[in-house]
Symmetry: C2
């Protein structure tokens, strides 16, 4: 035993002494957040910067994908870093659907943010509080502890910042459908997944009671998923597997009453994926007897029925249900709506940032993840300035040669140009000009011809999807910018400023899509990888296992997730109602 004990101790020491083994690339979905609550506090506590150290203070709001990957990459020693979030852990959200059915345990996908900071070997302060107001004018954020306590503790905390990183994520969008908040489960947070798990078992236990009619059994065991996006589809598939592999054996008397319905307002599910994947998923769900209803909009949810409206016929029908999961769209957190009003971004759903992730209209505030989107600059807005910059001899005409001289800078600043060339299968800028003219011999363009050559380019601008993968890459990018801030002030590397002199300090943010998975149950997964490479089936499931294991935020969560998978293979999923 002595030997075993010493072995274990050594192992333990190894992992503790080699934190670099747990530094791994982070890729995937959705961040934590701040909720607004009306402040009635009468006292406040002011936290000012560490004046002695003279380090610039960065306040980070959130512990989701964006904030965590930012913290994992930031040079913590160069700044006074304060992290504020209502959740003291990072959650590996792509595995949330697995948590709903116990394929993976909740605790296996979370890692305390303090651990993540500690492993960096530097200091940053974490506060479990929610920010409810950003005061951009005075460079302050107003926060409030999340825990219910005596009123005295609930006093406001006001923090100064030099830079503010907003990464509070989004909330579920109910599209103001009546009854959704009260009666549906969401699937954004770990607690949501735990609640869904309990609720599934509850439905089976309720249906098993002796005083329940067949009608009621059917109702209790009718599981409705609203939203045919990756999360909704994965949850429906997980639930189907849970019922088929585990629950039907433990609840043999009621298993025939189980029904899973997936409601999607659009014509197809998984529309962000390749059509082959959509078709395969729809086929598989048909085989699995998951009732897929496309073109069906939810108009109301009561405590025991869901009313839907067929988009084609306008027919409204009502169907009783036992449990409903609402998994469609992302909505704006109150903190963000209020801040957007403050800075005049009133017509938007999320914060607009420039290509350097800086919130438009606020110099020291950066935003990333689901609470923000990059407001890509339209080339047509700057077309006159571009023309005059390129037309160095002020001739009022642009030669192909002159245009070629500036095209690299233009492509960096307006990535839609590159996309346009690629999609139109044009080889270069001369092709673009040819294309607009339709003939080969034009060597010079005036401003009108130049405009018309580029007129279609802006149509290629795309919003980045609200995934963890985007947020994580933004976090890495922003941390690198901050790490090089001092150096790049002197030695900028970005594209030249179109309106103004000199260059931008940094290259603008570029998202690199690494692919996306859609687990479909029964050990089958659809994968869409870069270059339109589509793979569906058991092999992708193994790819999914490998990728999700490797992307875990720590060795602890990696070990736990893998052992959860093994446990599920061997013993099945647990159905205790805890």
């Amino acid at each position: 035993m002595r030997i075993l004990s010493s072995f274990v101790e050594k192992g333990s020491r190894f992992y503790k002494d080699h934190p670099r083994y747990s530094k791994l690339l982070v890729v995937a979905a959705v961040s934590g957040g701040s909720l607004l609550a009306y402040s009635s506090s009468n006292s406040s506590h002011h936290v000012t910067g560490d004046s002695e150290s003279k380090k610039k203070r960065i306040v980070v709001l959130g512990t989701g994908w964006g904030a965590t990957s930012y913290l994992k990459n930031l040079d913590l020693a160069s700044y006074d870093v304060q992290v504020v979030a209502p959740r003291n852990y990072f959650a590996f959200t792509p595995l949330l659907p697995s948590v709903t059915c116990g394929t993976v345990e909740a605790r296996s996908i979370v890692e305390p943010i303090r651990n993540i900071i500690k492993r960096r070997g530097a200091s940053a302060t974490f506060w479990e509080a929610e920010c409810f107001k950003i005061d951009a004018k005075n460079k302050k954020v107003h926060c409030r502890p999340v825990q219910k306590s005596e009123s005295k503790d609930k006093e406001e905390i006001i923090m100064d910042y030099d830079y503010l990183i907003v990464a509070v994520g989004a909330r579920v969008n109910t599209f103001n459908t009546p009854g959704v908040e009260e009666n549906c489960h969401f699937l954004k947070e770990v607690e949501d997944a735990q609640r869904i798990r309990r609720s599934v078992i509850d439905c089976f236990e309720k249906a098993s009671l002796p005083n329940i009619s067949e009608e009621e059994k059917k109702k209790h065991l009718h599981f409705v998923v609203v939203g045919g996006g990756p999360t909704g589809v994965e949850f429906a598939a997980e639930l189907h597997d849970f019922v088929k592999e585990n629950l039907s054996k433990l609840y043999p008397k009621v298993k025939d009453f189980v029904k899973i319905t997936l409601l999607e307002a659009g014509d197809h599910i998984l529309t962000m994926f390749d059509k082959r994947i959509t078709a395969f998923a729809e086929e598989k769900f048909k085989r699995d007897v998951i009732d897929l209803k496309t073109g069906s909009m939810v108009v109301e949810v009561t405590n025991n029925a869901i009313r839907t409206k067929e988009r084609s016929s306008g027919e409204v029908s009502s169907v009783p249900y036992g449990m409903a999961v609402w998994s469609t769209g992302i909505g704006t957190r109150p903190l963000i709506s209020e801040f957007m009003q403050q800075i005049g971004q009133t017509t938007r759903r999320v914060l607009a940032t420039d290509e350097w992730l800086r919130v438009q209209g606020s110099d020291c505030i950066y935003a990333l993840g689901d609470c923000a989107s990059i407001n890509q600059r339209r080339i047509m807005e700057d077309i006159a300035v571009i023309f005059s910059k390129a037309d160095k001899d002020n001739s009022g005409k642009l030669t192909v040669k002159q245009f070629q001289d500036v095209i690299t800078d233009i492509c960096e600043r307006y990535p839609q140009v590159k996309l346009y060339l690629k999609n139109k299968k044009l080889k270069g800028v001369s092709d673009l000009l040819k294309d607009s003219e339709g003939k080969d011999n034009s060597t010079e363009l005036d401003i009108e011809k130049f405009k018309s050559a580029l007129s279609q380019v802006d149509s290629e601008m795309k919003m980045l999807p609200a995934t963890g993968q985007v947020a994580a890459q933004e976090g890495v990018y922003l941390a690198n910018c901050f790490n090089q801030m001092a150096e790049r002030e002197k030695n900028p590397v970005g594209p030249p400023r179109i309106r103004g002199e000199g260059r931008h300090r940094f290259h603008p943010f570029r998202y690199k899509h690494l692919g996306q998975f859609a687990p479909l149950g029964g050990e089958q997964t659809a994968a869409q990888l870069p270059g339109d490479w589509v793979s569906i089936g058991h092999s992708s499931q193994w790819l999914w296992y490998s990728v999700y294991a490797s992307k875990q935020v720590s060795w602890r969560t990696r070990t736990m997730v893998v052992s959860d998978w093994m446990r599920r293979f061997i013993f099945g999923r647990d159905s205790s109602r805890i």
Copy 2:
């Protein structure tokens, strides 16, 4: 991957096909239970026995140690078995203190009761409902679903029974101390342990906020444990380890404010153990700077302070606290109090049963575990009958020979006789008679001398402790009685009936104490094994690991508990607030 996948599948099939590997002896503490709630239902559903099968119907109340070990050993095919409990799983309660600090995960110590039944390969029905009334006269129990639902579902379920097994456990005894229910955590159920875990992290997060004075930090980080029994002591030790090994590293700024206080009304902790263990534990707690206050009674708990009274001086003092765990005494569940009133057992704390676990005064109702205790028959109550049965020649005098003829039966019926002989170091019954006479030559006794010889014997009667070990043994015993019921009607094996003819059908229940552990933290455990063998230290900790691993109710929980321990060695305990 094909190979790995097939290996895993095979492994999975192996465990599923060999359920006997998961049949293991169950030893240890505390059962689930029924809570009374006032019934306002206006409809009811009547569940009658399966009249066609003509099997006798057994209704089992509870899924704790007693009920589960009964179900694991009962010949389910011979009876129509219905299990009713508000909890659809069995919990390995001795590991609850480990769950409070994440040394072991909650889900690792629970097993769905449906799984346990299914592995027996026979059928028994489980209903997730709470029994709120036992109607002994009409052989019915009244139950109510546990889940909140529309009123229609909450209708009463009335079940007929031929035999009723009451194993609903106990609840915490607050001794009516004001404020305990509202402000203290208990440690009886899995949910309690999970709440405590979150609460510990909450206290650390609260104390880490910037708007908190030193005074408040001290308050938030003052953890109070009330009750120096094994559970309270183990929790205090676990918490100390959690703070020392994990939290102090993640919360370095507040670690010096942490204080753990253990309040015990008696003079010592762990009084059910050997004095050496008590002394060692008290010493260890002193070294660990756990503030042990004996002779200190809690008189009131408010939301931020605990008022205690020194038993010696009568001095009352008040101390602020962050979190308090109440772990002292066991109280009666409302269902049991009401039933005791019904059958006239009004002066007792738990149900009285005879030595065959039958509730006194109710022929077909059996009770086991924490909700019952065996009302051992006093020999002095039956002394005259015993004398006349032994005095076969009706001489009014008893020879030693005559006495020796009946002594085996007497020892079986009144086990206190054997204990008395053992404790007095007497070799046999002739010694007992000698002892009473004080001289050697008495060969005959009259009734008065016989009385005086046995007068001290009843003082050896002892109540069984309220542990899972007792409940589990009772469950096994009772299941065996039921399995042999038909056979033993014809061929009884018990002791002769003192008042009446013939023999009892079964041997009375005998508890065999297999020892008890008291984990003291820092990988040290005290173990008290049969024969007053005491072992303290690291070796007992390893014994504890082995015993608790082997006693798990299924291979799934065994694997999970062991892997939780390994995870803790390697990665420490998780401190995410979920």
